[in-house]
C-alpha cells in the first residue's frame, strides 16, 4: 500500500507526514487544505495525489500510521514487570516524548481525529479506533500493583487523580512546546523540564497515596 510513497527517503517521507499531521491537527478534516500541506512539505500538488490518490486516503493513512507507531512503541517499551503506577506513567511519558521528537503534531492529530465528525471519514475512523484502543492503552496499565496504595483508599479515585495531574502538567507545557518546535535545543530543554516537573508531582502524590 502506498508503495511509491514508502520508497521515498526517510527524510522526505517525514517532511510530508509532518506537514500533513500539522495541517490536520490545526484544522478538522473538512477545512484542512491539501494545498497548504504540499506547500509546507515543499512538494507539488500532483505528487501528493500520485502517492495517496485522495485527501481521504491521505488522512486515513496518517491515522493508521500514527496509531500503529504509538501502539508498537508502547508494546515494545512498556515494562510490564514494573508494578509502580508512577513509574509506568513515566515510561508512557517517555515514549510519547520520543515520538513527539520525530512527529511534533502526532498526539494533537490523534486528539483531533478522536473528535472528528466529518461523515466522509467518521466510519473508517471508528473501525480503526476500536482495534487501536483495545490493543494499546489497556495493556499499558496491565499488572499495576494496587497494594502499594494506602489501605482503605479509593483506588479508582486515586488513579484518576494521577491521570489528571499528568494531563495537567502535559497541558501546561503543550503551548510552550508548540511555540518552539523549530528550535530543537529549546524544545528538548522544555521536555526535560516537563519530565522533571512530573517527577516532583509524582513524589508529592506518592506521599499522599502510598503506604
Amino acid at each position: 500500500m502506498y508503495q511509491a510513497f514508502m520508497n521515498l527517503t526517510e527524510e522526505k517521507r517525514q517532511a510530508i507526514i509532518n506537514a500533513a499531521l500539522r495541517e490536520f491537527s490545526l484544522n478538522n478534516y473538512a477545512t484542512a487544505s491539501t494545498n497548504k500541506i504540499v506547500s509546507n512539505a515543499n512538494i507539488s500538488k500532483g505528487i501528493l495525489y500520485h502517492y495517496f490518490g485522495s485527501k481521504k486516503n491521505l488522512y486515513l493513512f496518517l491515522y493508521d500510521y500514527t496509531t500503529t507507531k504509538f501502539s508498537v512503541a508502547l508494546n515494545r517499551q512498556i515494562d510490564l514487570a514494573e508494578p509502580d503506577i508512577f513509574k509506568r506513567y513515566e515510561q508512557i511519558m517517555k515514549i510519547k516524548i520520543d515520538l513527539m521528537k520525530q512527529y511534533h503534531a502526532l498526539f494533537d492529530f490523534l486528539k483531533k481525529a478522536y473528535a472528528e465528525t466529518s461523515s466522509e471519514v467518521r466510519d473508517e475512523l471508528n473501525h480503526y479506533n476500536a482495534a487501536f484502543q483495545k490493543n494499546a492503552y489497556v495493556t499499558a496499565f496491565e499488572g499495576i500493583d494496587t497494594s502499594l496504595f494506602r489501605e482503605n483508599l479509593d483506588i479508582k479515585k486515586a488513579i484518576d487523580t494521577i491521570q489528571w495531574v499528568t494531563d495537567g502538567i502535559s497541558h501546561r507545557y503543550e503551548e510552550r512546546l508548540k511555540a518552539h518546535v523549530d528550535n530543537q535545543e529549546l524544545f528538548n530543554e522544555l521536555i526535560e523540564q516537563c519530565m522533571e516537573e512530573a517527577s516532583e508531582y509524582f513524589l508529592f502524590l506518592k506521599t499522599l497515596l502510598y503506604q
Copy 2:
C-alpha cells in the same frame, strides 16, 4: 453600542447570541460562517449586518458580552468569606453551570477565543483579555485559608491537583452535556451527576490534603 440589537426581545437576542457562540466555538474565527449563524438563529443575513456591521464586530461583541457575564456572576456570587478552597470551587462550578444553562457554548467559546490566532481579531482579544483575567479569576480565589491544609504540605502542588481534578471531572461530562443540549431534563440530570461526582472527589482529596 449595538442599540438596535439590545432593543430586541430577550428571547430573540439570546437565540442570536447562542447561534453565534455555537458557531464560533465549533470553528475558529476565520472558518466560522455568518451564513450558518443566521440560519441557526432563524434571522436574515441583512439584519445581522444591520445589528453588528461586520463579522469582526459580532465576534468582539460576543467576547465582551461573555467575559462580562462571567465576571459579573463571579463578583456577585462568590462568597469571599468562605475560606475552604473546596467549597469555593463548588461555588465556581455552580456559577459556571448556571451560565451554561442559558448559554450552552459560553465556555467553549471562551476556550476557543483564548486559542484564537487570526490576526484580524488577536490584538483586540488580548486587550480585553488582560482586563478580564485580572478582574475575574484572581478575586475568585481571594481569602482562601491555606492553614486548613496538612502541615508541611506543598500547597502549590495541592492547589494544582485540586484544579486538575476539577478539570478532569468537567472534561468527563463535557461531551455528554454537548450531546444533550436540547434535552433540558437530561441536561440538568447530567449537571446534577457532575456536581455530585465533584463532591465525592473533593471529599477524597480533603482526607488526603486537610489536617
